[in-house]
């Protein structure tokens, strides 16, 4: 399992580079609200179905930590990414196709379809942003704003994530 995950190292590094160099600056400002697309989450989403939970958690922690270094936002993204790494398998079971995931396939856009990819992206990003903004606005007053921002930012992130999801798997959908 570990050898397969090493192949993903390139994808994860490329996503982090895209995030730090490009998407950190692709902000949308409406009033005092600011929406940033967080596409590094895709790094957790594309790991094979069979990846062990512990490995997912550790990878999530490291990815989140790197993004936090680039933004100066202490451990916000770390906690959100670890959360999503833990719930990834649960989310996958919510959106699974009727007969389940075929063993030997990868969680790819091409194999499971556009609607599956959108559901996957939206669920993952909105839950991730929930944790992110709840912790960010660590007060009950801002609870409503945190929820609203999680939804809107989740949609914004998902647009890019679905797009990149296609790109990551354009050459393979099956474990070789």
């Amino acid at each position: 399992m570990r050898t397969i995950v090493v192949k993903y190292l390139f994808n994860i590094i490329a996503l982090l580079a895209l995030q730090i160099l490009i998407f950190n600056y692709a902000k949308i400002n409406i009033g005092f609200w600011e929406f940033v697309p967080y596409v590094y989450i895709l790094g957790i989403m594309i790991l094979p179905f069979e990846t062990e939970g512990e490995l997912l958690l550790i990878i999530g922690f490291l990815i989140g930590l790197i993004v936090d270094f680039s933004l100066g936002s202490f451990a916000l993204h770390t906690s959100a990414t670890v959360f999503i790494a833990f719930f990834r398998n649960i989310i996958l079971s919510w959106i699974a196709p009727r007969l389940g995931y075929n063993p030997g396939t990868l969680p790819s856009y091409q194999y499971y379809g556009f609607y599956w990819a959108i559901k996957y992206a939206l669920f993952t990003t909105v839950i991730h942003h929930f944790v992110l903004f709840l912790l960010d606005y660590f007060s009950l007053k801002m609870l409503f704003f945190a929820f609203a921002k999680a939804f809107i930012n989740g949609v914004y992130s998902s647009i890019f994530i679905v797009f990149l999801h296609y790109f990551v798997f354009r050459n393979r959908t099956i474990i070789s």
């Binding site: 680039s70 451990a75 906690s79």
Partner: protein, 262 residues
């Protein structure tokens, strides 16, 4: 919903670390002080700064050079005259050498930037580099002070005594000053600056500092080795100084000479 207990334990552990770190760091007073004292307490801010700094360096550098240009203009034009005498033009160094007996520097400013022949050229640190010998449309050739055919009129700053500084062609970091009389008090580290008696270089531009000196019974002056303040191997940008009064002074000298020999 299936997950192993070990996974759950690891999740809670990592999550607590992350959330705890966030809350503690967020509430720490040191974070708010960081801008005032310039001390970055958090490694998150250090790395964020380092990453963004790379992208900012280019623009910061150009902004600093523009600031330098205005500062030099102000410094050299602190006279009672209303017209500025000296204008400073920023130029990039395109070609450079220190290994020839007479070294030419090519800069990216020419006729279009109002450069004239005999304009002085200084580094961005205010040290003397040379003077313009040829002006093209967009580029110019500068004769570096590292040449064996000309000397520079300089002044020993503490005493004010004038001498001629020359280059022997070997060491690009040292030049020779030969006519400071023995009665002058000199020591290692003294500044050697331009005297202002040539029409080319403005006065008081730093050339270098005294590295060593020796005396001989054959002559009544020191032989001083001057360590150049500027590293000629590392030139990137320069300022070209145009002296608007120079033409006027030249005319006056011509007329005076004519009168003398009539």
């Amino acid at each position: 919903m299936k997950f192993k207990r070990s996974t759950l334990v690891l999740f809670i552990l990592l999550e607590l670390i992350a959330i705890g770190w966030t809350i503690i760091a967020n509430n720490s007073k040191t974070v708010y002080i960081l801008n005032a004292t310039g001390k970055v307490e958090s490694i998150f801010f250090t790395y964020k700064f380092k990453i963004t700094e790379l992208f900012r360096l280019q623009t910061e550098y150009r902004k600093l050079l523009d600031k330098l240009q205005t500062l030099y203009t102000q410094k050299y034009n602190c006279t009672k005259l209303t017209d500025t005498i000296y204008t400073f033009t920023l130029a990039k160094v395109l070609e450079n050498s220190v290994s020839h007996p007479n070294n030419i520097i090519v800069i990216s400013a020419g006729e279009q930037q109002n450069i004239k022949e005999d304009d002085a050229v200084i580094s961005v640190y205010g040290n003397i580099i040379g003077y313009v010998v040829y002006v093209g449309k967009k580029h110019s050739a500068v004769l570096s002070i590292l040449n064996t055919i000309t000397t520079i009129s300089v002044k020993h700053k503490p005493s004010g005594i004038i001498g001629q500084l020359s280059w022997d062609g070997s060491d690009p970091s040292t030049m020779i000053l030969e006519d400071i009389p023995l009665y002058v008090d000199i020591k290692v580290g003294d500044s050697i600056v331009t005297s202002g008696y040539s029409q080319i270089f403005p006065p008081d531009l730093l050339v270098g500092t005294i590295k060593s000196y020796e005396t001989s019974n054959a002559k009544n002056t020191y032989t001083i080795k001057v360590a150049l303040a500027e590293d000629f191997r590392k030139l990137n940008y320069v300022f070209v100084i145009t002296n608007k009064q120079r033409e006027n002074i030249r005319q006056i000298i011509k007329k005076a000479q004519k009168k003398l020999f009539e």
